[in-house]
Amino acid sequence: MNWLEIVGFFTIPGITFVILMALFIDWLDRKIYARGQNRRGPPLLQPFYDLMKLLSKESIIPDGVSKFWFSFLPILFLATVLVGALMLPIAVLRDNSNIVIGFTWFRFDVIFVLIILLSYALLIYFLGYITKNPFAQVGSTRSLLQVLSFEIPLVFALLVPLIIVGNSNGEFSLAEVSKNLYVEVGKNPLYIIPLIIAICISILVMLVELEEFPFDAPVAHTELADGWLVEYGGWRYAFIRLGERIGAFFIGGVIVTFFLGGPYIVDTSSTWANIILHILFFTIKLILVIAVMAFIRTLVSRIRIDQTVRLAWMYVIPLAIVAVLLTLAFKL
C-alpha cells in the first residue's frame, strides 16, 4: 500500500466513510419513511445522537446469560459487516489491470460475500439464542428461517451478473463484475431482462436481511417486543445498531457492485478526479438503492413468517431460476 491508500483506508473511502455512510443511511431511511407517513422525520445528526446515547447507557447483563457470549457476539456482529463493507470496490485502490478494487480484495471474493451474508444471519440467530429469553429465541429462529429461505434466490440472482461477465476473463471478483458488466450488456442488450429480475430479487433479499417491512417478523415490536434484540442495551445494543446500519451499507453496496456497475459511470485520466467521481457515483447509486428500499417499506405492512417463507419458495425462487435460465439462453 502507498501513502494515499493508507490514508484512504482510515478515512474516505475506508473505515470513516463506511461509518459515516452507515449513519447517513439510517437517517435517510428514517426520513423517507417519515415523509411517506406525512411526518417530518429526524434531523440529520439524529443517528449520531442515538449512537452516543446508547454508548453512554448503563451496561446490564441479565441473570443466567453467559457474560462472554453476551459481550463478544455484538462485537463479532459489527466486525463481520465491517469486513464485508471494506471488500466493496469504491475508489482509490486499483489492481494491475487498473480496475478499482476494495481494501480487502482477493480473487473470487464473490463467495466470501455470500459467507458474510450467511454469517450475518447466523450471528443474529446466536445473538437471540444466547439470551435465553423466549421472545428473543422466537425472533432469532424466525430470522434464520426467513434469511435461509431467501439465501437461495439471492445466490441465483447474483449468478446472473456472474454468468454475464464470467467467460470474458475467467475472474470472479467483485471488482471484475462491476467493471465489465455493462461492457457485456452493451454487446448484448437482451441481458437487461434477467438483470432487472435479478435486481428486484436482490432488493427483496435486502429487505429480508435487514428485517425491514414487510419482513420484520423477527423483530415485530408489538408481538415480540423487538424479538432477538429484547435483552440488549447500552454499548452492546449500540454495536448491534451500528452493525445493522453498516450491514445496510454492505448489502446496498453489493447490489450497486453487482447490478449497477459499482463506482463507474465515467473515467478520466486524472487520479484525483477519478477518486472523487468514483466515490460520488458509488454514493449516489447507494442512496438510490436505499431510497427504493425505504419507499417499499413505507408502502407495505408486515406479513407473517409462514407467508414470508412461502413467498420465497413458491414465487421468488422460480423467478430467480427463470432469470438464470434467460441469462444462459442469451449467453449461448
Binding site: M52, S56, L82, L86, M87, R107
Partner: protein
C-alpha cells in the same frame, strides 16, 4: 492482494473501530456499583411467571437442509462451470462451512429433544 493480507487489514480495521467505540462508551458511561435483581431479570412482558426457553423444532432444520442442498449445489456447480482448480477451493470451503454449521445445529436439537420431547399440543402451537 492475497487472502492473508486481506485478513490482516480486516483485523486492523475491526480492532480499531471496536476499541475506539468501547473507550468512548467507557468514558461516557455511568456504571453503578450494584444493580438490583429486577434490573437483571429477563424481559417477561409484564408476566409474573419466569420466561421459559423455547425449544427448537424440526421444521427449522428441514428448511436448513433444503437451503444447504440448493445453495451449496448451485455454487459448486457455478464454480465448476467456468473455472480453474483454485476457484473450486473457494466453493468447497463455502460448502464445508455450511455443512459444519448445520451439523452443529442438528446435534444441539437432538440433545434438547431427548430431555424435553415435543408434545402434540405444543406442535399445534397451543403452549408457547
Amino acid at each position: 492482494m492475497n487472502v492473508l493480507t486481506a485478513l490482516i487489514v480486516d483485523i486492523i480495521a475491526t480492532v480499531l473501530v471496536v476499541v475506539i467505540l468501547l473507550l468512548l462508551s467507557k468514558a461516557m458511561r455511568i456504571q453503578p456499583k450494584t444493580q438490583s435483581k429486577m434490573k437483571r431479570e429477563l424481559f417477561q412482558s409484564g408476566d409474573t411467571l419466569p420466561p421459559k426457553p423455547r425449544r427448537i423444532y424440526i421444521d427449522t432444520y428441514v428448511f436448513i437442509a433444503f437451503f444447504v442442498m440448493f445453495d451449496v449445489s448451485v455454487f459448486v456447480l457455478a464454480t465448476l462451470f467456468f473455472v480453474n482448480s483454485q476457484q473450486l477451493v473457494g466453493g468447497l470451503m463455502y460448502a464445508a462451512i455450511l455443512f459444519l454449521t448445520v451439523l452443529v445445529g442438528i446435534k444441539k436439537r437432538f440433545a434438547r429433544d431427548v430431555i424435553e420431547p415435543i408434545t402434540t399440543e405444543e406442535l399445534e402451537g397451543g403452549n408457547h
